[in-house]
């Protein structure tokens, strides 16, 4: 069912930024991995490594 795409290159410029984000799986993948890695894992690990070791 390969449809001919009529849209010329110029049309792509009118796509709103939000839709462009939602249409870009790899950008979403980047965001979806970076957010929890930084805010949950790295921040959490930083705090844990700063706990002083019991004597």
């Amino acid at each position: 069912m390969a449809t001919k795409t009529k849209e010329p290159e110029a049309a792509s410029e009118r796509i709103p930024p939000m839709q462009r984000l939602l249409d870009n799986p790899f950008l979403l993948l980047f965001l979806g991995v970076t957010m929890p890695t930084v805010l949950y894992l790295m921040w959490g690990l930083m705090e844990i490594t700063q706990i002083p070791i019991a004597e």
Partner: protein
Amino acid sequence: MSIAESHSGIIGGIAARFRTCPATGLQIDLAAERLIKANAVAAVVFLLVGGVFGLLVALTRWPAVHLLPADMFYLVLTAHGLDVLLLWILFFEMAVLYFASAVLLNCRLAAPRFAWLAFILMLVGGVLTNIAVLQGDSSVMFTSYVPMQASPNFYLGLILFAVGALIGCLVFLGTLVIAKEEKTYEGSIPLVTFGALTACIIAIFTIASGAIILIPTWLWSLGYISHIDTLMYKLIWWGMGHSSQQINVAAHVAVWYAIAAITVGAKPLSEKVSRTAFLMYILFLQLASAHHLLVEPGISAEWKVFNTSYAMYLAVLGSLIHGMTVPGAIEAAQRRNGFVNGAFEWLRKAPWGNPAFAGMFLSLVLFGFLGGISGVVLGTEQINILMHNTLYVPGHFHATVVAGTTLAFMALTYLVLPLIFQRKVILPGLAKWQPYLFAIGVSGISLFMMGAGTLGVSRRHWDITFSDAALSFDYPSAAFLMLGLNGLSAILAAVGGGLYIVITVGSLLFGEKVTADNVVEALGPMPTRKVSEAVKEYGNAGTFHLPGTYILVAVFFTAFVLYYFVNWKYVSDLWPMG
């Protein structure tokens, strides 16, 4: 599926065999179809095994029955969590990923050989871990917290399984790339595929966290590493343990949209809003992993509050949006189908006799009311302390992952059987009742475990009478009643689950072949008597006249707010001030 009905097409220079689906007109890549079948069958087998273990656990926690001895209880509990939460769900999710990419995008599957490698790794890993557990020296339960140590094969199996799942995710992404390059769809990918993409993205973070923690733990069990920090383990493990549940949420929400589209022709109220809700999942759901560490000393309140309160509520907002747009989309479609009277004719005249629809709607309601509300309560730092590590926790997640995800997947099966396996569902009279039976049973286990937890009963505890303990303790007698009712509900859920297995396996073996002539009838009662285009296309319902949905949403919020504040009231009793 005989080869004669199929034909070859050259796509991207690679030949692939297709058949044309008589119901939807979609071209179905036979390689994708075989993979969907294999993964779905593996899933159902593990549901059977894990479900039996679940029943044994529930019967042991029923004080009057107290079925298993203590060591067996912990062994079986470990096997239960492993087989249902990991194996059943993830195998089924692989099938969903292949379906949402290759089938819905009308495209060939990228690298089917790798997808088979993924399947084999997952199967070998799953079996290996099961063997390790059944041998008895790995009763570390689902969380496998260090310093408890399982046998090396327990971890190795999990690692192999995770690598397999990761390959499956890459095949999904590869298929998206192929479909885009070959322009097998117009504009944006369908919403169901977008939901699957959300699940896939969360899965990649999940699997990475799993690898970061399980590989060192495996080496530790082999003696190559001397020490694993317990708190570090918990932090990273929950990056996997919690996020994996969010794969399920994203996947079952996608399944809700798919079933609503196929059975009543529902289109999303607003593609934009639904996609943004999935984006909230991608950005924030995984941060809520922190709610599992709310009582850990050593991590700051800032970290806890940021990750649970701020981020979690944004993710919850995503769920609230789906919780409103799915019934809204159904209402809009049903009104288009002619059920326009009053606020609720659309709901009354919905195809309740179609197990796919009924299962989907029950999953939606139970997930929202039981799972969602209890989840927010547990995820709030201050009131978490009321229920932390009690049976309330399994009560909550049986509402999310059993009443929500499992029931949604069961419902989807009733469409997958005719569409992919090309078999009619056997015993339609019983199939009609299956979702109701299972839903009632699961609601019971969920509510009664929550009830027992509210009375303070611990989770993962073999003997609540403390019969041979040095210090005695008495739970209120209501707690014993709750556990008894939980046992009865477990039997009901097991009957409902067993029925699902019998129907599914029976349909595979003995179901009537589905052809172009009977395919629509094979999908069960549907108001439109044809499969709408909604599932494979981008497009809005184009109406917001949804009085019934607004009433349902108002009821939900009232329940939510009341229950939430009741728990704050309980906290103030726990810690009297002034």
